[in-house]
């Protein structure tokens, strides 16, 4: 119950339906006007093992996941064993009475009496809703909608289970879990990072998406695939990741704003085509959802250890930009920014997420779509000076990109070094000019960098430096310490390349002590900052066991590692 929030954990085996319960309960909370952050922790298997779905809920913005559990919904007895130690002093464990558990904090539920076996999910939600003091109507309507209304028999069973469980739970005397009422109930959306990436890209004018399934980004493709027909886009599964990216480059070359997504291992296979995008100057957005590696590693967990890899992926030198969304909301806006930048600078642009942000659900305000201008590929044919040269040398390094078959001009793109007209050359002075032309684009990109966000005391004694998905935890940890009387600052990078030192070096130098917080073992971002600015962030907090960095983790590490 940190900072006025409540933390629910639903645990059980894969295949027991805990994601259903979690999503359902999350949606009910969002519709009831609460702020949530739901995170998933699962094993790389389809049945069995131990998975969990956590919902942190509060009346105002929830920043980060929490370790301590206030309400533990155990779908098996293992869950109780594994998580009992995380229970808060006033916490409650909801478990089937048939588990015949012993110990404190137990609320044993007679599920078998509340509905059919299939309705256990609904019954669990009913009990939770009662404890949390939520309005029954919202739950009823959400459940109805969630399971669809196709089968009236099932619908009826669900309704009965909900009612019975609410009825039963009324008898429970527990007020500690009751949520504080919300003041204004606005319409909110519930979205995961993956869903936001898909929708954000769609809103920004994405037309072609290719992929090869890989955790944790498969959800982006599946979200887009479901909408492809409605939205008039094409979503295609490649025979491998090499195909996925090369296909997207073909589509982009032909005029479709294009994106691919994968994880580290799949991205490793795309690296050659990243370089191809750099050389042919083909716009492309590449999402890399990080997970613990090397190799297959821990396929369903989280990490931030592919920063240096993505930054230097591809042979030779060419410009790129790398975004790292800090929140689920960022996941909506960044794709648009990335698609626009890719088109403007005709370069590969990266979005570096991780399993934590990809799989997290959040309550978010509906996005304002009014002012969105979808990315429009290609240059204006009428502005072309004759003869058309695809790689004309320009001051900005950006050359006019026409689309094949869409104008009277012929478009020639080449992976070899080429002359301005796109044909391969071995003229070594042309080579030099082309290298310089391509790298000049980085200057333009630097001017458009999203500056890092600084939050906190203007003159902090402790400055937490972070990037990507660790934002919320750093903010909450800083908030706690500020409450404890310390002058705290957080410096968060949503764009990690290019770095413009004028935007942050002063802050680093001014801080009493800077601490870099990253989910990797080697402090990759701190190294990058030193490479670019010479500033060494000496104190660093690393996590690399596969779990997301929590506020508590930061606070513990700050205490220990001083």
């Amino acid at each position: 119950m940190r900072n006025g929030t409540l933390n629910i954990l639903i645990g059980g085996e894969a295949g027991q339906g805990l994601v259903t319960i979690g999503q359902l309960q999350s949606r009910i909370l969002v519709r009831s006007g609460y702020s949530i952050l739901s995170t998933q922790s699962y094993m790389s298997r389809i049945r069995g093992g131990h998975n969990s779905f956590s919902i942190r809920v509060g009346p105002d913005g929830v920043l980060a996941p929490e370790e301590m559990i206030d309400l533990l919904v155990a779908l098996d007895s293992t869950t109780v064993e594994l998580h009992r130690k995380e229970l808060s002093p006033k916490g409650v464990i909801i478990a089937d009475e048939q588990f015949e558990l012993t110990g404190d904090h137990l609320l044993e539920v007679p599920y078998s009496k509340l509905g059919k076996r299939k309705q256990m999910n609904v019954a669990a939600v009913g009990v939770m809703n009662s404890l949390l003091g939520l309005e029954q109507a919202v739950a009823a309507q959400t459940i109805d909608q969630f399971f669809g209304r196709k089968d009236p028999k099932v619908q009826e069973d669900n309704r009965q289970a909900l009612e019975k469980s609410l009825e039963w739970a009324k008898t429970i005397e527990n007020k500690t879990l009751k949520l504080a009422p919300v003041t204004a109930r606005e319409k909110m959306l519930m979205l995961s990072g993956n869903e936001c990436l898909a929708l954000g890209a769609l809103a920004a004018g994405l037309k072609f998406y290719s992929f090869y399934p890989m955790t944790p980004t498969t959800g982006i493709g599946q979200t887009l695939a479901a909408l492809a027909k409605t939205a008039g886009i094409i979503v295609e599964q490649g025979e491998d990741e090499i195909a996925a990216l090369n296909m997207a480059l073909g589509a982009s070359f032909a005029g479709a704003p294009s994106m691919v997504a994968t994880s580290g291992g799949g991205f490793a296979l795309m690296v050659e085509a990243v370089s191809l995008a750099g050389m042919t100057e083909t716009p492309i957005v590449i999402v890399v959802g990080q997970r613990p590696a090397p190799a297959t590693g821990l396929p369903t967990r989280t990490e931030q250890a592919d920063l240096e890899f993505v930054l230097h992926a591809g042979h030779g030198e060419f410009p790129r930009a790398v975004f790292a969304p800090g929140t689920v909301e960022d996941c909506f806006f960044i794709p648009g920014r990335a698609l626009a930048l890719a088109e403007k600078y005709q370069s590969p642009i990266f979005i570096l997420t991780d399993q934590f942000v990809a799989d997290s659900y959040r309550s978010v305000k509906p996005f304002d779509l009014k002012d969105l201008t979808p990315v429009r590929p290609g240059a204006d044919e009428n502005a072309i000076t004759q003869p058309y040269r695809r790689y004309a040398l320009t001051e900005s390094g950006v050359s006019p990109r026409l689309l094949p078959g869409m104008s009277k001009h012929l478009v020639v793109a080449d992976s070899d070094e080429h002359t301005e007209d796109g044909h391969l050359t071995e003229d070594l002075s042309a080579r030099k000019q082309m290298v310089e032309k391509r790298l000049r684009k980085l200057e333009g990109m630097r001017r458009e960098v999203i500056p890092p966000e600084f939050i906190g005391n203007p003159d902090p004694e402790l400055l937490l430096v972070c990037w990507g998905s660790t934002k919320g935890s750093a903010l909450e940890a800083a908030g706690d310490l500020r409450t404890g009387g310390r002058r705290m600052g957080v410096l968060h990078f949503t764009q990690v390349w290019p770095l413009v030192q004028e935007q942050f070096l002063g802050l680093l130098e001014k801080a009493g002590q800077a601490v870099c917080v990253e989910s990797n073992a080697q402090g990759q971002f701190a190294r990058l900052i030193r490479r670019e600015t010479g500033f060494e962030i000496k104190r660093q907090i690393h996590r690399y066991d596969g779990l997301p960095i929590t506020p508590e983790f930061i606070l513990r590490e700050l205490k220990e590692s001083r």
Partner: protein, 283 residues
């Protein structure tokens, strides 16, 4: 109406006597016969001597990576189905490095034409074995001769029920031009494997060798007869069949898709009503 001149005349980086010259001519001829203008056509190639070919004519060109012509061609065709997309590259590129894409393109039945300069060798890298090199073929990288069985692309394509499978020969450029024209006209995946002599690195399968070992399929060969096709497809060595070996009319990928769009034309447009409706489903 386009003419041979529409497709231009360029200086090449090929060796005198190379089969690529005739192949290039046949391509231009085929395009003219197909009634296509340069701007309607997109050539996608990989890397190798063959892959340079699209630089030597007027058309749209994407010269990509070694082995990756097919996925690029697929993506371009999906984005703009009005483009006539021709993937042109070497045997090493399409059947070697790009083998997995070859299988996928056949399965997809994507409406592109694949033109393989099959000289049974990696020429640009100076003569190593390619997947189609005959067993025993000696190179600097295979000094004891190739141990692998050669890949017969025609046979595999027929076994996989590819839409249009043909073999041409640079020694018969008119015939080859005809194949190219028909392949382009075919709706769906078309493969033309072209026997092409490499005077520098393949001293076994020379122009004369190909001439002596190949034959034109008789009129009686019915490419729609799968059983006959697989038998003919299997021929290699003394009797290499030339012509259309197999064809069928299963609908192409784009024809089977539930919705068809020209993304190059709809790019820049987002229907906000549709988008708002989509967003609402997440509330």
């Amino acid at each position: 109406m386009s003419t041979l001149e529409s497709f231009g005349e360029y200086e090449t980086a090929w060796c005198p006597g190379c089969g690529n010259f005739k192949l290039l001519e046949a391509v231009k001829q085929g395009l003219v016969q197909a009634g296509l203008e340069p701007r309607q056509v997109l050539f996608v190639s990989g890397i190798g001597q063959a892959a340079k070919a699209p630089h030597y004519l007027n058309a749209n060109v994407f010269n990509g990576l070694h082995g990756r012509a097919l996925p690029v061609a697929t993506g371009a065709k999906l984005a703009n189905p009005e483009l006539i997309v021709i993937a042109e590259s070497g045997d090493g590129c399409i059947y070697g490095e790009g083998g997995n894409h070859f299988l996928a393109a056949v399965r997809r039945n994507i409406d592109i034409t694949v033109l393989v300069h099959n000289n049974q060798v990696y020429a640009l890298t100076k003569g190593q074995a390619s997947p189609t090199s005959d067993q025993g073929f000696v190179t600097k990288a295979q000094p004891e001769g190739v141990l692998e069985a050669p890949f017969n692309p025609v046979e595999v394509a027929v076994a996989m029920q590819a839409g249009f499978v043909a073999r041409g020969f640079v020694g018969k450029p008119e015939h080859l031009a005809g194949l190219i024209q028909q392949a382009i006209a075919h709706k769906g995946f078309s493969l033309i494997d072209v026997l092409q002599n490499c005077v520098s690195f393949n001293k076994v399968n020379t122009l004369a060798w190909y001439r002596d070992h190949s034959y034109l399929l008789p009129e009686t060969h019915d490419p729609r007869d799968g059983g006959a096709a697989i038998k003919v497809a299997r021929e290699w060595g003394d009797k290499i069949p030339l012509g259309i070996i197999f064809r069928n009319d299963r609908p192409s990928f784009v024809e089977r898709a539930s919705h068809s769009v020209n993304l190059a034309k709809t790019a820049g447009q987002v229907d906000k009503t549709v988008l708002n409706a989509i967003m609402d489903t997440y509330s």
